[in-house]
């Protein structure tokens, strides 16, 4: 543990160090991988391949308002304005290799897991083609049935074993199964602290200002398999627990009047704007679907369990699961409302949103609104529309409270 730092200070340092280390490893001739955000990084960590995450990088570029330049470059190359803006930012960065917001080295291999969407396959295929580097694809079949089938688990496990062989070929080194077990243990422990910390927001008032989830997310993506990540999330948990025990809410200067969930990715270029409008209205985003997304749990040495865990995240599950998951969140966190982000970049999240909203509302009576935005392309977001929708949500939540509150 590093002195008396808060987890937030440490988080910033860890992220800076993450990119600096990646540049150093690359400069020293080490291997660097680019990976999707919820991939079996355990294999790369075991192999000592330094891994950076284009989604993290694109989010940082977006939050620091540097996306338009890269987006323009990608569109100039022929990429449609209708495809994922993370992909546009990243494919442009791959060529420009420089951005004021943040820099990361080019990869020596590509590590892609399509449990988050099918789009990443096309995006990463292009990186692999443009840079002439190998791509390892973990193809995690979408679960149309409620449960993860044995057929899917078998296929995913087969791919993990095939990936190990390819990594041995690429690095010229044998896969160290003892180290693998250790990384598996660290990864699940870190995931557990992440989940435990985020669950503390169930307290009323929530000790967590949920927009912090967006900040801490970068680290759960890139440090799930590391000791530092593990310690960071334990520290964050302990801080939140202390706040909870003291009965502290999310803000020093304001009271949590309404508790909502945010569905979808943040609008990074408008992170502060979207936050401030909520805070102004006493709305605390206490949770999202993120806590479960990196809750990748399995037993050490259990490749079937690992395969099942990576397949189980909600974006790889059917609508029925998605609806029940949100209904559970509404009840667990005693939510007053839901904010659905109709994110122009993410067709998967968008095209079932209407049905999810209808069913969750029917089951729980929770108030909700949908607003139009985008994760990194500022052109798709209108602050005025967002504010109007939030005001409407507040009115609905107020009316509902007047009639007796949640579950009334």
């Amino acid at each position: 543990m590093e002195g008396q730092k808060t987890s937030k200070q440490w988080l910033g340092e860890l992220l800076n160090r993450h990119y600096a280390d990646a540049m150093r490893v690359k400069a020293e001739g080490g291997l660097v991988a680019w990976s999707t955000s919820i991939a079996p990084q355990e294999l790369l960590e075991t192999m000592g391949i330094y891994t950076v995450y284009p989604e993290n990088h694109a989010a940082a570029v977006g939050a620091r308002k540097c996306a338009p330049d890269l987006i323009g470059f990608a569109e100039g190359k022929g990429y449609s304005a209708d495809i994922c803006s993370y992909a546009r930012v990243n494919l442009a960065y791959m060529e420009r290799q420089s951005c004021e917001a943040e820099n990361m080295p080019l990869p020596d291999l590509i590590f892609c897991c399509n449990n988050i969407c099918s789009t990443v396959v096309k995006w990463y295929e292009n990186i692999s083609r443009e840079l002439h580097i190998p791509m390892i694809l973990f193809d995690l079949p979408f679960n149309h049935s409620r449960e993860i089938s044995a057929q899917n688990v078998k296929y995913i496990k087969g791919q993990i074993l095939e990936a190990i062989v390819r990594l041995e070929e690429i690095t010229g080194r044998a896969f160290d199964y003892d180290r693998f077990r250790e990384v598996m243990r660290i990864s699940t422990e870190t995931a557990d602290w992440w989940k435990k910390a985020s669950l503390l927001a169930r307290a009323k008032p929530s000790p967590l200002n949920g927009f912090d989830l967006f900040n801490y997310m970068a680290t759960i993506v890139c440090m799930r398999g590391t000791r530092e990540g593990n310690e960071l999330f334990k520290l964050w948990h302990d801080e939140l627990l202390e706040r909870k025990e003291k009965g502290l809410g999310p803000w020093k200067d304001g009271e949590e009047k309404y508790r909502v969930m945010w569905d979808g990715i943040a609008c990074w270029p408008y992170l502060s704007d979207t936050y401030k409008i909520l805070k102004k209205n006493g709305v605390n985003m206490v949770t999202s679907t993120y806590p479960d997304s990196w809750y990748i749990m399995y037993e050490e040495d259990d490749l079937d369990g690992m395969a099942r865990a990576y397949s189980s995240i909600y974006v790889n599950r059917n609508l029925e699961f998605g609806v029940d998951n949100i209904i559970g969140i509404v009840r667990d966190f005693q939510l007053d409302g839901i904010i659905f982000h109709s994110n122009r970049s993410c067709k998967f999240m968008d095209f079932r949103q209407f049905e999810v909203q209808r069913r969750v509302e029917a089951a729980t009576g929770v108030a909700s609104v949908i607003f139009d935005g985008d994760q990194t392309d500022p052109r798709a977001f209108s602050p005025a529309q967002y504010e109007t929708r939030i005001q409407a949500l507040v009115e609905m939540m107020e009316n509902r409270k007047a009639k007796g509150g949640a579950e009334a």
């Binding site: 190359k77 022929g78 990429y79 449609s80 209708d82 495809i83 994922c84 992909a87 399509n114 969407c117 099918s118 789009t119 396959v121 096309k122 995006w123 295929e125 292009n126 692999s128 083609r129 443009e130 190998p134 791509m135 694809l137 193809d139 079949p141 979408f142 149309h144 057929q151 899917n152 078998k154 296929y155 087969g158 791919q159 074993l161 095939e162 059917n318 609508l319 029925e320 109709s342 122009r344 993410c346 067709k347 998967f348 968008d350 095209f351 079932r352 209407f354 049905e355």
Partner: protein, 376 residues
């Protein structure tokens, strides 16, 4: 006795009036119909179960019922299919198989479970690691699962014998289509872009065996005809599909002929035939493993551009028209790469953005006209 032109008109008519064609095929074959979403629905299994596979490729449908489920930035084929499902246009279908190749297809399949529960939806996942041992095994098991589901929904079962027969029927049809499309470039006046498209599309609404017989008959007649002498500019189409058909008329009006295509709706259905090795399921699995240059199938070597360059050389084509269905992500990712690869090979390329329900293709007319002029 019908003349071969009567047969050509019959096929065109089937593509232009799908509902009537499907009802006729059901009557003539005694088979119940099963809807097959784009793309690579395992029709062989449907056919082997004694059912009639029917293509579901959207259409000019307008309406706002699909808004209940899908935002406006969803591709027009999926919006049209959803609209048609909500209007109960598919009431002649006993089941629907939907393959989830993209994020939109995943969502559509989930929405349809509540939007159109009466349609007996069977979602299917193709492996993207389709060349590896684990991927091939997964596909084999997935095909068996779909076969079981189909039986559960329709009561009709494919046996191993009927599946062998069915794969033979399909491979025979694929070979017939390859021969037929190879003959067309010599007859650009008779088989202009629109007619070529309609004939290729007609199979979605007919019995496969009947279609193969018709095609073989027309091919036999074509072999006897001498090639037309009027020269035209030769183009290749690439994309999901090239509709509405007005676009094809614009291509013809500007002195061009389609000499080959790389459209999911057309030649990608039949350009690969697996060798006769192993059982029927193995042949189906192998065909997918061998099918390269398709945006929906993961391809580490990203061979579509190279394939198009080869196709242009082989067909002595003058250029390529990239038909971008608006909001079709996979093609949107392929385009910038293709653009560079075709430019490096000095092959002229036209990019057109299409929607199935376009009000007026005038903007496309201007672009096609300039492209034709550029080809000289």
């Amino acid at each position: 006795m019908n003349t071969w032109m009567d047969i050509v008109r019959e096929l065109e008519d089937a593509a232009a009036h799908p509902r009537q064609a499907v009802l006729r095929a059901m009557r003539e074959t005694g088979r119940n119909a099963v809807g097959c979403f784009p793309i690579y629905a395992p029709e062989e299994i449907v056919y082997a179960a004694g059912l009639l596979p029917v293509g579901m490729w959207g259409g000019p449908t307008r309406g706002r019922m699909a808004d209940k489920y899908l935002q406006t930035f969803c591709c027009s084929v999926m919006r049209a299919n959803t609209e048609q499902a909500l209007r109960d246009d598919y009431n002649m279908l006993s089941a629907v198989i939907l393959t989830t190749f993209c994020d939109t297809l995943k969502c559509v399949s989930e929405n349809w479970k509540s939007a159109a529960p009466q349609l007996g939806l069977i979602p299917m996942v193709y492996p993207q690691n389709r060349k590896s041992a684990s991927g091939k095994q997964f596909l084999r098991e997935e095909l068996m699962r779909v076969s079981d589901e189909l039986e559960r929904v329709t009561g009709c079962r494919a046996t191993s014998e009927s599946l062998e027969e069915s794969v033979d029927v399909y491979d025979d049809w694929r070979a017939a289509m390859q021969e037929f499309t190879a003959l067309l470039p010599n007859h650009p006046r008779v088989f202009d872009a629109k007619r070529r498209h309609l004939i290729l599309k007609s199979v979605f609404f007919m019995d496969k065996k009947t279609h193969a017989e018709r095609i073989k008959y027309v091919s036999a007649q074509l072999r006897r005809l001498s090639a037309e002498s009027e020269p035209r500019k030769r183009v290749i189409l690439s994309g999901l599909l090239c509709e509405p058909v007005e676009i094809l008329d614009i291509i013809t009006e500007n002195g061009m002929q389609v000499v080959a295509d790389d459209l999911a709706q057309e030649s990608r259905q039949f350009r690969t035939v697996a060798p006769r090795a192993g059982d029927a399921l193995n042949r189906m699995v192998t065909r997918i493993a061998l099918q390269d240059g398709c945006t929906f199938l993961y391809d580490e070597s990203k061979s579509r551009g190279a394939m198009l360059v080869d196709m242009v050389r082989r067909e002595k084509a003058d250029g390529v028209i990239f038909c971008q269905l608006k909001f079709c992500d996979p093609d949107e990712f392929d385009y910038p790469i293709l653009k560079e690869e075709l430019a490096a090979a000095r092959i002229p390329l036209l990019h057109i953005e299409i929607e199935q329900q376009m009000d007026s293709p005038e903007q496309i007319r201007t672009r096609v006209q300039s492209f034709a002029e550029m080809l000289g």
